[in-house]
Amino acid sequence: MTGFATPLTGYLLVAALLFAIGLAGALTRRNAILVLIGIELMLNAANLNLIAFWRYLPHPEALTGMMFAIFSIAVAAAEAAVGLGLVISIHRHAHTTDLDEMNRMKG
């Protein structure tokens, strides 16, 4: 036993904790790359929820939850590529990745 009534509870709590850590990182860090890392943590926590529900809830369609997680992984990869490209582009123009100094939309 995991200490809870169901094993699903443990996974949901771990995912919630990971989501909160990612949110804290995205909201408090000054570096833009660290904010992207926080967003990745939040996306991964959501994926863990999807897989845990797929495993422990009764499902008429055995594949749906798994497919949801796989497509979510693919979209997150696209998001990471574009986000990091933007950070590199901003660094080239403004010579900083500090979010407190990025206060202009025009270069």
């Binding site: 570096n31 990745e40 990869a77």
Partner: protein, 167 residues
């Protein structure tokens, strides 16, 4: 089962804390890799073999490398001279995320009684996943292919060196 779960959960959460708290960004990227690997092992623990290996391929193999490249290209690994690595409004951010975790945890623990006890393992083979991707889910698959192509071209164009304003 439970010992392995708690071990993996502890590694993952500790890696997450290190990823957002450490000062040197290269160390943060390493901690992020630990989180991705821990999550892949949790997926394997949940009998989702395909998602676990996809997680290792995509996140540990690609996204972590991308993050390291971005950190090194922008020279962010140097600690900023003025002040710390946290923004001025870090208190509000911490309070918001603590509130979010409190609400999520409360909801999970409240709904615990309604969750099912033990469900038989969903028997999903890679063959079934491949058949479903080529059959029922072929349209989402094509859209994801289009999205990935657009993201690839877009990321290259955004990060490409512009000749006009070379300094």
């Amino acid at each position: 089962m439970s010992f392995v779960f708690w071990l993996l959960a502890a590694i993952t959460v500790a890696g997450g804390l290190a990823a957002v708290l450490l000062k040197n960004l290269v160390h943060c990227a390493l901690a992020l890799t630990v989180v991705f690997a821990g999550l892949a092992l949790l997926f394997l623990q949940l009998d989702a073999q395909f998602a676990g290996f996809a997680q290792i391929l995509v996140y540990v193999g690609a996204v972590a490398i991308l993050v390291v490249f971005a950190i090194l290209l922008t020279r962010s690994s140097e600690t900023p001279k003025d002040g710390g690595v946290f923004s001025r409004t870090w208190g509000a951010g911490l309070a918001i995320s603590a509130a979010v975790f409190a609400v999520l945890g409360w909801v999970v623990l409240q709904s615990e009684a309604g969750l099912p006890r033990e469900i038989s393992v969903p028997n999903v083979t890679v063959l079934q996943i491949g058949n479903a991707l080529m059959g029922r889910y072929v349209l989402p698959l094509e859209i994801v292919a289009l999205l990935l192509t657009a993201a690839l071209i877009g990321a290259v164009i955004v990060a490409m060196h512009e000749k006009g304003d070379a300094k």
